[in-house]
Assembly symmetry: C2
Homo-oligomer: 365 residues x 2
Amino acid sequence: MLISPSRRLRRTAFSDGVEAAGVKAYTSYNHMLLPTVFRSLTEDYRHLKDAVQLWDVACERQIEVRGPDASRLMQMLTPRDLRKMQPGMCYYVPMVDETGGMLNDPVAVKLAEDRYWISIADSDLLFWVKGLAYGFRLDVLVDEPDVSPLAIQGPKADELAARIFGQGVRDIKFFRFGRFEFQGWQMVVARSGYSRQGGFEVYVEGSDIAMPLWNALMEAGRDLDVRAGCPNAIERVEGGLLSYGNDMTRDNTPHEAGLGRFCSTQTAIGCVGRDALLRVAKEGPVKEIRAVRIEGDLPPCDRAWPLMDGQHQVGAVTSAAWSPDFETNVAIGMVRMTHWDPATDLDVVTQAGVFPAIVNETFWI
Amino acid sequence: MLISPSRRLRRTAFSDGVEAAGVKAYTSYNHMLLPTVFRSLTEDYRHLKDAVQLWDVACERQIEVRGPDASRLMQMLTPRDLRKMQPGMCYYVPMVDETGGMLNDPVAVKLAEDRYWISIADSDLLFWVKGLAYGFRLDVLVDEPDVSPLAIQGPKADELAARIFGQGVRDIKFFRFGRFEFQGWQMVVARSGYSRQGGFEVYVEGSDIAMPLWNALMEAGRDLDVRAGCPNAIERVEGGLLSYGNDMTRDNTPHEAGLGRFCSTQTAIGCVGRDALLRVAKEGPVKEIRAVRIEGDLPPCDRAWPLMDGQHQVGAVTSAAWSPDFETNVAIGMVRMTHWDPATDLDVVTQAGVFPAIVNETFWI
């Protein structure tokens, strides 16, 4: 199926590089183009696990929150306790509405005591943040700055990044960031990214410097076989990396998404949705994310697939892909507590028929 | 370019019908699939102007606002004065943030004194509405109901709709709606739609009844040559129908988008952004939407194309298409007041080179 071009599906500061590298397919993410395939899903997968890739993840748009009430607003947005968050840290912060339903699962980047970036998944979280800031008359500035994240992912990411930013990048700890120079520009470089292969996300401020950085990394990594890549639908499911809109939506609490460990509902004073989440935090959710193994020749997972115990629906699979390394279909599903124990046998109903599914003990990595 | 399937790009209640009809391309709209091409853009265009089409516009998601404070919240959302809006009416309502920047340009449907649907363009307006309702502690329920709009568009739309809903639909006035029965279900049928060819939008409540209605309309319209169609990129530009995200964004005021006539900033008491808009309402905008004619063999308009007077940028074109009926490239642009007079000669800079552009007096219909 083709995707129709329009300004509404915004190009990114790296689109010229992505196209020169032969992107084959896109998805839309935050009203922006996100590459999904270069050579093939499995070839991209193999290469990601063996070498190093540059990912245009400019669609991870930033919401900048700045001003005297910035920290107060940040704590309103998430049930995670942010009191120990220091400048230089990144926090994965599920964000919920007043009913505890997930609105986004971004990474917060604390730039200074009164300044944050929220690196968002696919929803217009800006509207919620602005709505709260306005409704509570908070003394903050909320906006989408011209910041385009570029991910460097794969086992050779440290080597490649060090060639451009210097050896110091090797010392960045997981979910921390430092400021590094490229051609006279200071860039926030964080050890993070949407794969299990390790690497960095560079927050490129200003579109003008995006392609020079892309080209410099491509040039510097030639002998490392650096290639353009993208979040890989196989690798991320193997690794249990959730996708907002796929694996959880506004219908789900963070606890259902298996993110209860990021919710300190007792201590996150001022968090919207706290009342709703206190009960689920105490009792636990009645359904939860699970790794699911599926046998058979699956169609693309373009909709929620019901998980059945006989005639009784007990959950749904929301992402699935064939894993060459594990030689099975790896999948992410949400399963009711009556059926979520490892090795539970279920059936999954797809648009191409019914397949046997088994609850897996863990994800594959 | 291909589009990658995932649950995140939601299928609609009509997707089975759309696929059976041979959809060739999609865009993503409100995290949902919106068909863009069936046979070809020009063949679809010709047919839309000559016959009648069914459009899966389920991606026009509804925000339901219900409760004692519903009308107060609605007036907060838009600078249009809603005091004379009665149940049974639809209003086109630009919605803005506190700076007067556009967040969406939906159609509001007043179902009852305390109940509205907001039929939205492509942004998560729900987050803004919920944020305001929460921040101001309004006594309203805000949610996305299971309502899927189906448009019947084209010169034979009245004839087709009458065969299914009865002759009464012919009497629905423009931007009014009535309730009509289909197989025992009451449906809101409005005379509206995203074309200049006339027709209806049926607000289908409940996904179960969607395909039965689709099939009944297809069957009833066989001799009218009814086909699956979609908003047509040529016809909508000819007609000057704006697209949020393409032709205006959060950077623009309604006045810049040529929507000043929908802003009663003096009387729309309580509207967010009123302070910011009062000045622009008085002085007028310094740039505004214009119809633009472009000569030459244009590439797809996948980005904002600068409009130049020599070396000086004076605007941008944001939508463009070849019009078979008017034998020119029709386009929508935003042009500075120094250059917005009809017949002003400009250049437009595209990814495929520079083309001569002329400000047109009006849109083409």
